[in-house]
């Protein structure tokens, strides 16, 4: 399938604004120096800047010392020393708990969970400790300086435990923020915002894009605001909402739909918790249709929250039920990955995208 080929075989150079879409970040450019970077290099730059600008910030996790298994922490230990960038033993619960403690003392702890599939031993710490610290202490204490970074998502051969998208679990926890970048430029700005945000943030990085996505990234220190969705492609017939690596798939579906004369508006949510309801609402009120797509299984996925909220807010403007094109309700499979994934063909053939001119009566 063409979508599979483009996913796994080619280096993905994100299309620029000439194509009428803004997959590349729209951070104000001006005349600052930019460099062509992939995702892990952009994240690496963000971490360098974060550690440089705040002497009380620390980066730790499994294997981060030598640069990390995805190269995101390259050069940090050499530059900032082993007291600020260090390896931990194999214990996610310990890593996050430790980070909460450091953050509670006013430091910035940028903690790495090697792969999002391993985050569950730390789930208790995140949900019961990090999310509720400020609340239960009546604002005496907080762990806002905590940022948890974790690579998530399918990678082509990851199987059950190197491909999961666990964002939905964390979106259900008031007290933390969940942020997912779509591209290198976005990642650098969003990561710096997340690290400096005075609330604990879980930052999921699409691991498939670590090497595949290449973009011009400004070299200076810049931040992209959290909880602000971005319309990366304007349209009038249908709104598509997604985040992370799935946006590139949805972009392909939009291009295909364009050939059929369907004008698609594509929104990158960026921050899932708290999410920018206003932008999505305004878009759906304009188009009357909504399609949400994510890799995580459909039942209970974050698409359900978006769907329910938009239904509440845009009921009278909707011309069709909200579509969700998501992963199947199975564990992330090994050999069956191509069947599981929400590909552009699935998006294209969903009822919302394939025939928006017909009025559906359900």
């Amino acid at each position: 399938m063409a979508s599979l080929l483009s996913r796994f075989c080619r280096k993905l150079a994100l299309p620029g604004s000439a194509h009428g879409s803004r997959m590349t970040s729209t951070t104000a450019c001006g005349s600052e120096t930019v460099k062509s970077l992939n995702l892990y290099s952009a994240i690496n730059q963000a971490l360098h800047i974060a550690l440089e600008t705040d002497p009380r910030s620390y980066v730790f996790g499994e294997d981060v010392g030598f640069g990390g298994v995805f190269r995101c922490t390259t050069g940090l230990a050499e530059r900032f020393g082993k007291n600020r960038v260090f390896n931990t033993p194999l214990c996610e619960q310990g890593i996050v708990g430790f980070g909460i403690g450091l953050a509670a003392m006013g430091n910035r702890a940028v903690v790495e969970i090697q792969v999002a599939d391993y985050i569950y031993p730390a789930f208790d710490q995140i949900v019961n400790e990090a999310a509720k610290f400020r609340y239960r202490s009546g604002n005496q204490f907080n762990c806002g300086g905590l940022t948890i970074r974790a690579p998530y998502g399918a990678v082509g051969h990851g199987g059950h435990y190197h491909s999961q998208s666990p964002e939905a679990f964390f979106c259900h926890v008031p007290g933390i923020k969940v942020v997912i970048p779509r591209s290198p430029r976005e990642a650098k700005g969003l990561l710096l915002s997340s690290i400096r945000d005075p609330n604990p943030v879980v930052f999921f990085e699409p691991k498939w894009l670590y090497r595949q996505a290449v973009e011009e990234v400004p070299e200076h220190d810049y931040m992209i605001p959290l909880s602000q969705a971005e319309i990366i492609r304007e349209g009038s017939d249908i709104t598509l909402v997604g985040w992370g690596a799935q946006l590139t798939v949805m972009e392909q579906a939009c291009l295909d739909a364009e050939k059929e004369g369907i004008s698609c508006e594509l929104i990158d949510l960026k921050t899932l918790l708290p999410w920018d309801k206003e932008t999505v609402e305004a878009s759906v009120k304009k188009t009357g249709r909504l399609l949400i797509s994510h890799e995580a299984p459909i039942t209970g996925g974050f698409g359900a929250e978006i769907s329910a909220t938009i239904l509440e807010r845009c009921f009278l403007k909707l011309e069709a039920p909200v579509s969700r094109v998501c992963g199947l309700d199975t564990p992330f499979p090994l050999v069956f990955e191509p069947f599981y994934m929400p590909t552009k063909n699935k998006a294209s053939s969903s009822s919302s995208l394939s025939s928006p001119s017909k009025t559906h009566i359900f």
């Binding site: 499994e62 310990g94 051969h157 435990y161 199947l328 309700d329 199975t330 929400p342 969903s350």
Partner: protein, 387 residues
């Protein structure tokens, strides 16, 4: 017996076949000392004298050679992209799988993490099932749905095959709990690595196992590197056999198959009487952590080749067989050739096995005919009742 031994010693390599014993079936007990003593914690170590037989030592050689060959074949299959995903190889650690099997029965349970190909073979798994599973084919031991990290064998009480390190430890203690109820005098061997030894759930499981006297034997396969992190960098106390504190422990030379056998035998007896015990197996893996790890960025090639020269488990058994005149060099080489052919045939057979049907994506989620429905995109494209 003594006379025939004399006659063997008097002739060197050219023995007329009529005079030779049928060594592969000789089960006369012989006693061999382990190369190194056991170090113990909170218990008396077992004796260094291991009871074995020529037949058994020969079977060790064959089984370890088969495991070694399988892992090397898996390496080349991975490089030719017939195996995708993850592949964690066990070569160097064969003595552990083989020695353990020699001390226990197929009713004792074994559970381990992802480096499980050889453990599967030790439990009686077929080479063709292993290769099929690695290549994601239907003939595989998990029907092609698990892959390298998830081998299982129910009829041999092999509970797999786990991707999340440390998660199998409380599970294994749970198995021991069930065994205690059944009163059938079986034990559970719960294997984990030096990296996983730092997981909190290990200590939780140890506490419960000790509190309730469960027949659980926790085996730390200490190959000195958790992925790329050496034990001294991740553990305050790399003496994993002592980490149980109130739980007794034994440190074993994991490259010596006889020592492993002795330790496991001792541990089984101990666990049935006194509850949990920790065995720390000092072992080594030649390959990197997985096929995407060259294994040379965190350890020197000299270190790896040093271990291969001095401590290789198969070579040690070969020397034992030769020095005790149990077999000749030629016989051993022939055995290795047979094993190689076995493995090659199994690979060829596995390659013939088809990939699972697409409908298999939805099977075995819940119990069969549970009736749960699953939908694809838009709740229209696909509607399946999960089997």
């Amino acid at each position: 017996m003594a006379l025939s031994r004399l006659s063997l010693r008097s002739t060197t390599f050219l023995k007329p076949s009529s005079l030779r014993r049928h060594v592969s079936t000789d089960t006369t007990p012989i006693t061999i000392e382990t190369a190194a003593p056991f170090t113990s914690h909170q218990c008396d170590p077992p004796s260094r004298s291991v009871e074995t037989s020529s037949a058994e030592i020969l079977s060790f050689f064959r089984d370890m050679a088969r495991m070694r060959r399988m892992e090397i074949a898996a390496d080349s299959l991975y490089k030719s992209k017939l195996i995708r995903g993850f592949c964690h190889l066990y070569d160097g650690q064969e003595a552990l799988a083989v020695g353990m099997e020699a001390a226990i029965t197929k009713k004792d349970a074994i559970i381990t993490s992802y480096r499980d190909h050889c453990t599967f073979l030790g439990r009686g798994g077929e080479l063709v099932d292993a290769f099929s599973e690695l290549m994601g084919r239907m003939r595989g031991c998990s029907n092609g749905k698990g892959g390298s990290m998830h081998f299982y064998k129910k009829d041999a009480c092999f509970y797999g095959g786990h991707g999340i390190v440390g998660a199998q430890i409380p599970l294994g203690c749970g198995l021991a709990f069930a065994q205690k109820y059944s009163k059938e005098e079986n034990v559970s061997f719960v294997l984990y690595g030096d990296g996983a030894a730092n997981q909190g759930q290990l200590f939780e499981a140890l506490n419960i196992a000790a509190l309730w006297d469960l027949p659980a034997i926790l085996v730390c396969e200490n190959n000195h590197y958790g992925m790329g992190t050496a034990t001294w960098r991740s553990a305050k106390s790399p003496a994993y056999f002592k980490r149980g504190d109130y739980v007794p422990g034994l440190k074993v030379d994991g490259m010596d198959v006889l020592a492993v056998k002795q330790a496991c035998k001792f541990a089984k007896e101990h666990a049935l009487k006194n509850g949990p015990i920790i065995l720390e197996m000092d072992t080594y893996r030649y390959h990197g952590h997985s096929m995407s790890d060259p294994g040379s960025t965190y350890r020197t090639r000299d270190e790896v080749s040093g271990v291969r020269q001095v401590r290789d488990p198969i070579e040690r058994v070969r020397k034992l067989l030769l020095s005790h005149d149990i077999a000749t060099e030629k016989e051993l080489k022939d055995m290795e050739k047979e094993v190689r052919k076995e493995v090659d045939d199994a690979v060829a057979q596995a390659k013939e096995s088809p990939v699972p049907e697409a409908s298999e994506l939805f099977t075995n989620m819940y119990v069969k005919d549970c009736g749960v429905e699953s939908f694809g995109a838009d709740r229209k494209e696909l509607k399946v009742t999960l089997a």
